[in-house]
């Protein structure tokens, strides 16, 4: 396995609110290998942004880490002081947000904004930093960069602004780039360009990327591995092919099933009924039970453990237990499975053999893999 740059280990975070304790994420574990792109998918409130904000040390004041750790370069990020975190942010772990306008300073020339991390972290002279900023502007595809060095953010279109944000994030060659819905506010043609840009720069610099999005189409294009989050937990994680062609958790089925594909014509779209649970009073058992037509009796009583299908594929669903009845996934999912089994004849056998594993050990690869 490739070198690991980050390990999130059994992380549980609560938020104190006026109405009580919100259990934002519970027992989340995963790791990130050098050069890989891990996509975290989930709907609003699923905990994907809380997870990544905790990696940046950017949790809100009312957040409390109940337990767990985040290991980066041998140190637990959760133990770092604000000063240490500031050194980390922007230089070793950088972030791109959804709305470029909110992450740019409207009163500062963009050349200066791009150069700032170099002046702050590497103590470069302003002149040297600006020269590198210019190179970076060219690298992210800002046309006629020299002429725009002294322009302000409002003089650029949305797509160009996001390129500027990417230039700022990448100028210090971070080990990890966290991209939180970076293309959601952009038009599809611009989105395609930005996704390409992130990919190219990543390949050139061997950075690792955590890509947060709700768009499964984008995930299919950018991810090496995918973690599906629901109600503060990772319910399934695997390689991009495992998640898209051999998904196991009914929530993953529902997500893939509720998108119209090229083949979908008229008729009723499969939707997931209901809404996500209230994390103030999380349900007992599997949080997806109320919306899950494949739910078993045990789902209402005990939270399912992770079952391991392959060295990379884990799913938290009782359907993989030996005692579970065989269910028939939705048509669209069966179609995907068939494609997968053709290429991986061993897949069904692996599924039948899927073994229950302990959360942390399995997902962070501490178990022999």
């Amino acid at each position: 396995m490739a070198e690991k740059v980050l390990t999130v280990d059994n992380l549980k975070i609560n938020f104190h609110t006026d109405s009580g304790e919100v259990q934002a994420i519970g027992d989340v574990s995963f790791d990130l290998a050098k050069g890989e792109t891990l996509a975290i998918v989930g709907e609003s409130g699923s905990g994907k942004s809380v997870t990544t904000r905790s990696i940046m040390g950017l949790l809100a004041k009312n957040a409390q880490v109940d337990h767990g750790q985040i290991t980066f370069k041998g140190q637990n990020i959760l133990d770092l002081s604000e000063k240490q975190l500031q050194d980390l942010r922007g230089s070793e772990i950088a972030m791109i947000f959804q709305d470029p306008m909110t992450s740019l300073d409207p009163t500062m020339k963009i050349g200066q904004q791009i150069a700032e991390p170099l002046i702050k972290h590497q103590k470069l002279s302003k002149q040297a930093a600006l020269e590198q900023a210019l190179e970076m502007m060219k690298a992210v595809g800002i046309p006629n960069a020299e002429a725009h060095l002294n322009d302000y953010p409002h003089q650029f279109s949305g797509g160009m602004r996001q390129r500027i944000v990417i230039a700022i994030a990448l100028i210090d060659h971070p080990e990890i780039l966290i991209a939180d819905e970076p293309t959601t506010a952009l038009d599809v043609t611009i989105q395609a360009q930005i996704l390409n840009l992130i990919k190219n720069i990543q390949q050139a610099s061997a950075s690792s990327v955590i890509f947060i999005t709700h768009d499964l189409g984008v995930v299919a294009g950018v991810a090496d591995r995918v973690a599906v989050m629901y109600a503060g937990q990772i319910v399934e994680i695997g390689t991009v092919d495992e998640i898209f062609y051999f998904p196991q958790h009914p929530y993953t089925w529902g997500l893939l099933n509720s998108m119209p594909t090229v083949e979908t014509r008229t008729g009723v779209l499969e939707s997931i009924p209901g809404t996500p649970p209230d994390l103030l009073n999380p349900p007992v058992g599997d949080a997806f039970t109320a919306r899950n037509k494949y739910a078993l009796a045990i789902d209402e009583q005990r939270q399912p453990p992770y079952f391991q299908l392959s060295p990379t594929h884990f799913a938290a669903t009782w359907l993989l237990d030996d005692r579970a009845p065989e269910v028939t996934p939705p048509m669209e999912i069966q179609r995907r499975w068939q494609r997968y089994i053709k290429k991986h004849p061993e897949a069904l056998e692996q599924r039948a053999q899927a073994k229950e594993v302990s959360t942390t050990l399995a997902l962070t690869g501490k178990e022999d893999m």
């Binding site: 043609t189 360009q193 768009d215 299919a220 893939l256 594909t261 939707s271």
Partner: protein, 316 residues
């Protein structure tokens, strides 16, 4: 979704110019024509700045056309001036917005939000009738009558969009303009709202103008699609056909950029980059029917080129 042959709305050579005569004059919509038939869903697709929202608002009489006209029920809507005419028009044409958070008054109870149009149009003769309408609407859009006394912030995004739909439906409109109604919603909720809109259309014989940038959902819900770019209509045709056999280069590039939830297709994706130079050559173009009911903006010289394309795609 069976679309009849009767035209409900006709957009004829519509031009909308902002800041006319000033330095920052913007021709947001240029010579756009299309019809919306009774009972159909017309999908209006385009990227930001294409003019799609401007057209929707012009149909709502929120913007004044600089040129051209919008005809509904054989009447130019610009001629509707009396208080009575306007009230009737605003009852028949309703709008659903992208962001239910922003389009619902946070200090109003759900029952008052839903009944707003009912009150304005004096559609309820008593308080009982009013709350009866509210209850019926809540149930129609999949909420509960207990929700009537709550405030918008107590609902999720998908539920708020249901409230927005309930408000639009409460006045018994015939025509609904939905401007990006699902873009702000989670994937699992998008399908719920789209299914609800389709069911309501069947039950109530509604006509929709569905404005969106998400082509896959537009294709799914629409009978016909119109593709806008920089204020001009470039292609109009049956939804499946425009999606599977686009004729205009811009439509092709737009479709090639949509990510699909299939890693193998994504790995092979080669987005086609659109070259707009031809669009900017200043020549006048008209919507020419290249294949049956499939129109492309073309000059006379360009017609053979598109006909050849249509032949290659097996359309003619």
């Amino acid at each position: 979704m069976a679309a009849g042959n009767k035209k409900l709305v006709e957009i004829k050579h519509l031009d909308i110019t902002f800041n006319q005569g000033k330095r920052n004059e913007t021709r947001a919509v240029q010579d756009v024509s299309f019809d919306i038939y009774q009972g159909e869903t017309f999908g209006l697709v385009g990227e930001s700045g294409s003019g799609k929202t401007t057209i929707g608002r012009a149909i709502m009489k929120l913007y004044q056309p600089s040129k051209g006209e919008i005809v509904m029920d054989d009447k130019n809507i610009a001629d509707l001036k009396s208080k009575d005419d306007l009230r009737k028009f605003r009852q028949q044409v309703q709008m659903i917005f992208q962001d239910p958070q922003a389009s619902l008054d946070l200090r109003m109870k759900v029952k008052d939000i839903i009944a707003e149009g009912v009150d304005a149009n004096h559609l309820a003769s008593s308080d009982e009738e009013r709350s009866q309408i509210v209850t019926e609407m809540l149930e129609t859009v999949g909420l509960m009558k207990e929700h009537a006394n709550r405030y918008p912030h107590e609902f999720s995004g998908g539920q708020r969009q249901r409230i927005g739909i309930g408000r639009a439906l409460a006045v018994q409109p015939r025509f609904i303009i939905a401007d990006e109604p699902i873009s702000a919603l989670d994937v699992s909720i998008q399908a719920q709202v789209v299914n609800l809109m389709q069911a309501l259309q069947r039950e109530r014989d509604l006509t929709y103008l569905f404005i969106a940038h998400d082509l896959s959902m537009v294709k799914y819900i629409s009978d016909r699609i119109g593709v806008l770019h920089w204020g001009k209509m470039l292609e109009i045709g049956p939804a499946d056909e425009v999606y599977a056999h686009p004729l205009h280069d811009y439509t092709r590039s737009l479709l090639s950029a949509i990510p699909v939830p299939d890693p193998e297709i994504e790995r092979q994706r080669r987005p086609q980059v659109y070259d707009p130079s031809r669009e900017l050559d200043g020549q006048a173009r008209q919507m020419i029917e290249i294949a049956p009911k499939h129109f492309v903006a073309a000059t006379n010289d360009e017609i053979p080129f598109y006909q050849e394309r249509a032949r290659q795609e097996g359309l003619i």
